[in-house]
Amino acid sequence: MTTISTDGLTRRFGDVVAVDGLTMTVEREEVYGFLGPNGAGKSTTIDMLLGFKKPSAGSATVLGEDVTKRSRAVRSRIGLLPEGYELYRNLTGRELIASAIETKGAHDDPDEILDRVGLDPDDARRAVGDYSTGMTQRAALGVALAGEPDLLILDEPSSGLDPKGIKLLRRIVRQEAERGATVFFSSHHLDQVERVCDRVGILHDGRLVAENAVDDLREELDAGATMEVDVDAVPDDLGMDDVEGVGGVTVDGTTVQVTCRRPGAKMPALRRIDDRATVEDVVIEDASLESVFEEYTAEGIDGSAEGSADATDPQRQAAEGD
């Protein structure tokens, strides 16, 4: 069953085409990663899905409702964590969540939601204006979770969260999917998308340039994995020529590096090496989603190396600690 469906969804701002003929579907109970650099059109797409902005062309349905005509019906069944917002700064976190529950006519316990998003009772009773960015994001996530939404729309949800908060976010996303909710996870943080999403759509310059499961995207681009095998001595013939799925072999000292285009190629290649030498160690590195992303967009995220293995990056730290 389809939760989100767009058909040629387009949005222009004057001469600028922010979203260009977007056609996609997000199935029920799916965690869908909506990936793209800043300015790709992700937030504009979300704004159209919520009825905040009108499409210049095309159509969209969310939970079976036409977003241009039945926006309120849509919003009664979703939970939204928007990007770039401020909460009412003189209300407490608990009041904001209680208000969202009341607006949705739900019967949730605000304290349970606060506990879920990791806001302790004392903080929950302080004004939001005194919160750190991470605490504000947790309170906002709590608002989104009110009323057990059928669809959770998260726009850059890990912004401002520390590694602990990011892990918590991932856990909540998984819990929501297990509960039966669909999660639309919009982000430019590749690690987050890679770790929680079933399927990924890559948006670039307003166009959906790729859409598939993360592994399938890697396979599409022959960007599967690299296997580094340390052996006691490298034989003259590694016998890799007839191993299906092996893209290339290089040797550096006693380390053999094998590029595997698909997951099924790793074990046959390893067995072949093990037949000819004593294997001392094996390291397998999947191609990151970033490399897949770069292939499709011909640029890094924001034109920089963000999302790469930076030890100080909380996204990366959370990924490593998971």
């Binding site: 704004d47 905040f52 939204l80 917002y85 700064r89 607006t103 949705k104």
Partner: protein, 281 residues
């Protein structure tokens, strides 16, 4: 549910703001000051009401401007509106909850100031304060507060940046107050009307000219205060000067009340009709 929760959140958020508390306090202090200053000048407290109503006409819109100009424009510029409208609140509920919330605060400011003035009058004036006159003053001032709050919230809904909202609100104050009343020589409504009639080569009847003059909520408020002084016009020359002398529609106090009521309802309605189609985000 939507209207009630948006209203409750907005009132709570505003009530805990030092700006709101400060503004209400300053206004109550100013009105109280008028009454205190006139303890030894007039025996009757209603004479101080007369001066307080002029203060209200001139100052009160400036007092509520900071309370209203960001009501919706602030939510739009800060992105807070995405949270509120991301929940199942309709734009109608959101807009009117915002208006009623800010109008409630404005009316509360008037009520506190009037209560303070009544207390001073009861304690220090030679004559006892007439409760009904104070009640009329409160009612008319509350309606004026709603008219101005409605106008300013409407301006706020039509703009998406703080600076434009501020310019719009202060522009509205100037046009509807000092300009309409002709407070500043040359720069006034009369000058504009004269220029237009002269250009068109027509003559405007005095009744029409006065009717135009009372169509602003500010001038309508001043006109409507005549209701407060029923039976005591002759006690003080200043008050007798505002007594209606013609049968023109513009001189009827009920019409002045109607004008304020229209500004408090029709203008916000027009504001909503514009706001319901604006894009968010």
């Amino acid at each position: 549910m939507g209207f009630a929760t948006v209203f409750k959140d907005d009132v709570r958020n505003a009530a805990r703001s030092y700006v709101v508390v400060g503004v209400i306090g300053v206004f109550a202090a100013l009105v109280s000051l008028v009454f205190i200053a006139e303890i030894d000048v007039y025996d009757a407290p209603f004479r101080a009401i007369f001066d307080a109503s002029f203060l209200l006409f001139m100052i009160f819109p400036l007092v509520i401007a900071p309370l209203t100009y960001l009501a919706i424009a602030g939510d739009r510029s800060r992105g807070t509106i995405k949270f509120v409208l991301g929940l199942p609140n309709s734009r109608l509920e959101y807009f009117f909850a915002k208006y009623v919330s800010r109008a409630t605060i404005a009316v509360a400011a008037v009520a506190i100031a009037t209560g303070s003035a009544f207390l001073i009058a009861a304690l220090f004036y030679v004559e006892s304060p007439d409760f009904v006159r104070f009640l009329k003053f409160l009612g008319l001032s509350a309606l004026f507060a709603m008219a101005m709050a409605g106008t300013f919230v409407t301006v706020s809904a039509m703009t998406r940046t703080r600076s434009r909202a501020m310019i719009g609100v202060f522009g509205a104050y100037f046009v509807l107050g000092p300009f309409w009343l002709g407070f500043i020589p040359v720069i006034g409504l009369d000058t504009v009307v004269d220029a237009i009639t002269s250009a068109l080569g027509v003559e405007l009847a005095e009744s029409t000219r006065q009717l135009i003059g009372v169509l602003s909520p500010s001038t309508a408020y001043l006109e409507s205060t005549e209701l407060i002084y029923t039976g005591v016009f002759e006690r003080y020359r200043a008050i007798s000067s505002i007594r209606s002398e013609t049968d023109y529609l513009a001189d009827r106090t009920w019409f002045a009340v109607l004008v304020m009521a229209a500004w408090a309802t029709v203008v916000p309605l027009l504001g909503f009709l514009r706001f319901r189609s604006v894009e968010v985000g």
